[in-house]
Amino acid sequence: MNRNQLTGSLLTLIGVAALIIAKDLSAPVIEYDPGPRFFPSIAAVGLILCGIAIFIQPQGRIEPFLTPRGWRRMGQMAALLICYTLGLLYLGFLIATPIALYIVIRMMGQPKSKYLTTIVVSLAVTFVTHYVFQELLMVLLPSGLW
């Protein structure tokens, strides 16, 4: 399956799923109102038609999106982002952020970033952000489960 076929199939699948879900939405309560299923159904049909058109389009020459090394690095980044999100939810901003910052600075900066500088930057960014948002701007930050 080439990239056009893959894109087309995925879009058609999303369109079909949206159409099925939209069919089960409640009927309109006001007379002459086309109801809540009308608009998403039009968009879903449009998506299906575009998906089919993309599927049958001839595939030109394409460059790979990332190299194998690039995909490995993308995987690392994705894992870090998910762990940071979980960290924010369970540990809170003040604990999760310096840890995440330390890891991501080391990950991105090797071999240029030094241990001590990384620790200082991680702590400084965390506390400055916390002070500016939570204390000065009164914008709440995740506090974790504590």
Partner: protein
């Protein structure tokens, strides 16, 4: 110009008012430049501070923040590729590539000048033609609103000219995403899959932070490309003066789009910049340069989003109807002091109305001066090593996505849309039609359903009502024009490859 001159004089003669508007503009620029913080957040936070001030002084602070907040969005959009606010989404498309080509100063200078033109021009319109525009708008019904939305939606065809099916699919995807949450009129829950946080729909800010910030950071880290060299020299205005002349029609058109969209309730700078950008691309002799650092795109986006400021102030002052979320807060600020905006405000409080005019113009000048003063400083952000800059941006994106709703669920929305953005890049699907569809879809649906309910299910009034018919004709013309240009583009490409 006498009214505006008197208004300016009134503000300049009060040093404390000048200090407040300067303070507001600085706060606004910072809020606009930080991803996740918007002019609305800034005005909301400053609102309690105005309780102790008289209405004129309170307005000085709030208007400074409003103008600064909308203007400042282009700084992050230009330097980091992250729209500081939804008003600067389209600025990213060309200002960031131009900045990446080593010309951040030029991109910033265009952004600052265009923002100034938009705010000042719309203030002049507010002073002189506000009642006329307000009268026209009172005559608009859901039929006209629907056709106007439809007209704007046909711009997707323009944004998707290079890859029509992919662009249209992106637009339809945006409309589907926009229909998540409580449906208009009947309040039915759609596509929420039992998740309560989805009831209010997807958070636009979390979406754009995912698509523009987190995706960009992840892809740049994965690609491990070297940092581009940056030209930090500021010569004169930062761009050729002739560029203003070259873009004269683009500036006027974007200004009118911004003014009109800003004026319509419920819309605002967030939509104006996308529509003006699409129109600029549609009318350009070189649409293929859009998205690759075309200055025309920056002019269009920044003039229109700032023109929406004056536009949004028109219904607020003349009718007491807010044009966007910030003017809703400004309205609240006036009402707290016992002032009811509307036609009577002009008669009962002429001094306050005049000072609002003057404050808008002064804020525009202050923002321009501040942006030019910072022109040497801002691009230095790009010289910060990526292993320090990107982690800080990552943290700010998480804070920004959480700050708008205080929902931790928005973290997952942001991450999901970083993935969606990456998949769309892989599939060569343009992002702008999806954002346009997401913003316009719910508005079109609400007005269309309301219109059909009014007309007892008949579609005929869309053609028989003059304004609606004209708008429909424009939409059809726009579609046909896009198809013709699309064919020409394809023929040109086929000729090149042969």
């Amino acid at each position: 110009m006498l009214v505006l001159a008197q208004a300016l004089q009134m503000v300049i003669q009060q040093p404390f008012m000048m200090v407040l508007v300067l303070m507001g503009a600085v706060i606004g620029l910072v809020f606009g430049a930080i991803p996740g913080l918007t002019a609305t957040t800034g005005v909301a936070l400053a609102l309690p501070l105005t309780f102790a001030l008289n209405p004129e002084m309170g307005m000085a602070l709030l208007i400074g923040i409003y103008v600064g907040g909308i203007s400042g969005g282009f700084i992050a959009a230009t330097l980091l590729g992250i729209p500081g606010t939804p008003a600067s989404i389209a600025t990213c498309f060309d200002a960031y590539p131009l900045s990446q080509q080593g010309q951040p100063v030029k991109a910033l200078a265009i952004g600052a000048t265009a923002s100034f033109m938009g705010t000042l021009g719309s203030t002049i319109c507010l002073v002189y033609i506000a009642p006329i525009i307000a009268n026209i708008a009172l005559k608009l019904s859901p039929f006209e609103y629907s056709t106007l939305m439809f007209c704007a939606l046909t711009l997707i065809a323009t944004l998707a000219r290079e890859e029509p099916f992919r662009g249209l699919a992106s637009g339809f995807l945006g409309i589907l995403l926009g229909s998540i949450g409580i449906a208009p009129i009947g309040s039915t829950l759609r596509f929420t899959f039992g998740l309560v946080p989805l009831s209010a729909g997807l958070n636009l800010l979390a979406m754009i932070l995912g698509i523009f910030a987190i995706k960009q950071i992840s892809v740049d880290y994965a690609e491990d490309k070297p940092i581009p060299l940056v030209d930090l020299e500021v010569k004169g205005l930062g761009f050729r003066l002739g560029e203003i002349v070259d873009n004269a029609w683009n500036i006027v058109r974007s200004f009118l789009i911004g003014l009109w969209i800003g004026f319509l309730p419920g819309m605002g700078a967030g939509l104006a910049n996308l529509i003006a950008y699409a129109q600029a691309k549609s009318s350009s002799k070189h649409p293929e340069k859009f998205g690759k650092g075309a200055p025309e795109g920056i002019w269009a986006s920044e003039v229109s989003n700032n023109a929406a400021i004056g536009g949004a102030m028109i219904p607020m002052l003349t009718l007491g109807i807010p044009g966007d979320s910030v003017t809703a807060l400004l309205l609240g600020g006036l009402m707290i002091h016992g002032l009811i905006p509307g036609p009577l405000l002009y008669i009962k409080q002429p001094r306050l109305v005049n000072s609002i005019f003057g404050l808008l113009a002064i804020s525009a000048v202050i923002c321009l001066v501040l942006c030019y003063l910072g022109m040497r400083l801002f691009p230095r952000v790009l010289t910060i090593p990526r292993h320090y800059l990107y982690p800080v941006l990552m943290v700010l994106s998480f804070v920004g996505s959480f700050a708008s709703n205080n929902y931790s669920f928005d973290f997952w929305i942001m991450l999901l849309f970083a993935l969606v953005g990456m998949l769309m890049d892989m599939a060569k699907m343009p992002m702008s039609p999806m954002i346009l569809g997401f913003i316009l879809g719910p508005m079109l649906e609400e007005n269309l359903r309301r219109a059909l309910t009014y007309s007892a299910g008949s579609w005929l009034p869309f053609i028989t009502r003059p304004v609606s018919a004209v708008l429909l004709a424009i939409a059809v013309f726009s579609l046909v024009n896009s198809v013709i240009k699309m064919r020409r583009h394809q023929a040109l490409q086929a000729g090149k490859s042969a």
